[in-house]
């Protein structure tokens, strides 16, 4: 549940919420590409910090922190896997060393940066705007509608899952009992009613829509139309600049990016 909360849109107003979803998506994509380009700690830290102003301007710190907390388990796993596997596969021949540690941290941070950017995107973009953006990008309306409806129903489903769990617990179901296989099996009494009711609901929704002449007009118009405003151009400019700078460094200085741990050693020497 708390992981969901970290991506759930709330209707508040901030400069970031007003931005065109297409532009925000371009920004997320830019961050995504850069995060994949670099595997050193230094640029990834910069990438993490660059996004903080967005979080604060949008005023979604609380939800954002919650999404990071939700990602914590995966982040820990990524860290451990990187640490252990890179060590055994001895691309780094030394025993657990500062550089190996730094590499593992960098990989973890890459994941966190991705979560961070997607979280900011979904926290500040209403499903309606997203559907509108898809429509204006000439995606067939059926797909846009399916998409917005799916997003709409996530909280409803989450709530329903909770009720079903309660109902089954009241019949003596203990979800946490048994070994791993048993625990997975324990969820069958929750999943079946959830799926059945989701299917039933979608059939009902389809009937209700058809009885209100859904799809009667082939050429749809919208009350609201997305238009690029000044803020949107600014964000495009920012994203493009970051992207170009990143590409420039990647092409010319990729090999020279220092390890943070190597920067620390001269510091320590100087202090001594």
């Amino acid at each position: 549940m708390s992981v969901f909360e970290g991506f759930k849109f709330r209707r508040v107003y901030s400069p970031i919420h007003q931005l065109d979803p297409r532009v925000k998506f371009f920004y997320v994509l830019a961050i995504f590409v850069i995060a994949i380009m670099f595997n050193q700690l230094l640029p990834l830290i910069l990438l993490f910090l660059i996004q903080l102003p967005f979080v604060f301007i949008a005023g979604v710190q609380r939800e954002w922190i919650r999404s990071l907390r939700g990602a914590l388990l995966f982040a820990t796993m990524i860290f451990v896997f990187n640490f252990v596997f890179t060590y055994f596969w001895t691309e780094y021949p030394l025993l657990p060393s500062p550089s190996l540690l730094e590499h593992s941290i960098a990989m973890t941070l890459r994941f966190i940066v991705l979560v961070e950017s997607f979280s900011v995107f979904f926290l500040t973009t209403s499903p309606d705007h997203l559907g509108l953006a898809l429509e204006q990008s000439h995606v067939p309306y059926e797909f846009c509608f399916a998409f917005t409806t799916a997003v709409r129903f996530v909280p409803v489903l989450a709530e329903e899952a909770q009720t079903i769990m309660d109902a089954q617990k009241a019949r003596g179901l203990e979800l946490e009992r048994g070994n791993f296989i048993k625990k997975v099996k324990n969820y069958i009494p929750v999943l079946i009613p959830l799926i059945v009711s989701a299917i039933r609901r979608s059939l009902e929704l389809a009937e209700a829509m058809e009885s209100r002449a859904w799809g009667a007009t082939k050429k749809r118009t919208n009350l609201y139309v997305l238009r690029m405003k000044r803020g949107d151009y600014v964000l495009i400019l920012i994203s493009a600049t970051i992207l170009i700078l990143a590409a420039y460094f990647w092409i010319f200085y990729r090999e020279q990016i220092p390890l943070l741990s190597s920067l620390l050693i001269p510091l320590r020497l100087a202090a001594a």
Binding site: M1, E160, T163, I164, D166, A167, Q168, K169, A170, R171, G172, L173, E174, I188, P189, I192, P193, V196, S197, R200
Partner: protein, 273 residues
């Protein structure tokens, strides 16, 4: 015996659904909790089998705090029938569905068989024993859900909105059934805003408004109190409305069901002739 001592409950999203509820339900009592949508009725009864634990205060069931035992353990004593049967039915046959809880409680094979037969018979579902619960009608599914809880014979039975989506005949059967459970000595708590249904059962009534208990007493006192009923956004029973309109006729005002009304009117007619 159920005791709620000044309980408060706040949902994780910050909604305070209960703000200081104290109530005591004796063994064998029949109680209806009423109030408008969102008043906190469901939240309150979910505290009785431990699905929710109070953020402040405590709930004691037969002397034990719900904070100290698991939901599974409490459920042996407290049977909770949810509003929507579709939130719990998942087995291939009605028989399996009714046996589900018994398996969870580690009943023996023979005992399970015995109790399933008993529960199916009790709710006239024997003919559907091998049918898939998904093939049944709404009213029948509701009965399967009820059977699946009554099968383990809990001492306390809670029904959340049992009358929703039931036609008149089913409601009448349900009412008789609930009264029967109660006369067998079970503590029965129903959550509902069906006034006519409550009027005919005449149980103890607790009115809830915004996470608090506004009034608590016999149905014919509570449901005929215009102020209370209005505050809880409930329409008084139709019989009571008639008697209110006739208040200049010097008739008693605490009449809520047809039978009492008939007696009073006949008495009046006899006196006037």
């Amino acid at each position: 015996m159920i005791e709620a001592r000044n309980i408060h409950f706040t949902y994780p999203n910050g909604v305070e659904a209960l703000s200081g509820v104290s109530v005591e339900v004796k063994t064998g009592e029949f109680m209806a909790i009423m109030g408008q949508n969102g008043a906190g009725k469901t939240t309150l009864v979910k505290h009785i089998n431990g699905l929710l634990k109070p953020t402040k205060g405590e709930v004691l069931v037969n002397g034990t705090s719900t904070k100290k035992v698991s939901v599974a353990k409490l459920s042996r004593e407290v049977g909770f029938v949810f509003q929507n049967p579709d939130h719990q039915l998942f087995c291939e046959t009605v028989e399996e569905e009714v046996a589900f809880a018994l398996r969870n409680f580690n009943f023996s094979k023979q005992l399970i068989k015995k109790r399933v037969t008993w529960a199916l018979n009790l709710l006239s579902l024997t003919q559907y024993r091998q049918t898939s619960p998904f093939m049944l009608s709404g009213g029948e599914r509701k009965r399967v859900a009820l059977a699946s809880v009554l099968a383990w014979n809990p001492d306390i039975v809670i029904l959340d909105e049992p009358t929703i989506g039931q036609d008149h005949q089913q409601k009448e059967k349900l009412r008789q059934f609930i009264v029967q459970l109660n006369t067998q000595g079970k503590t029965v708590i129903i959550v509902t805003h069906d006034v006519e249904f409550v009027a005919e059962c005449n149980p103890r009534v607790a009115l809830m408004v915004q996470g608090k208990i506004l009034a608590d007493g016999p149905a014919n006192k509570i449901l005929t109190n215009r102020d209370l009923v209005a505050q809880a956004s409930i329409v008084p029973p139709q019989i009571s409305q008639i008697f209110f309109e006739l208040s200049d006729q010097d008739l008693p005002q605490d009449i809520i069901n047809v039978y009492d009304a008939r007696d009073v009117i006949i008495k009046r007619l006899e006196a006037s002739t």
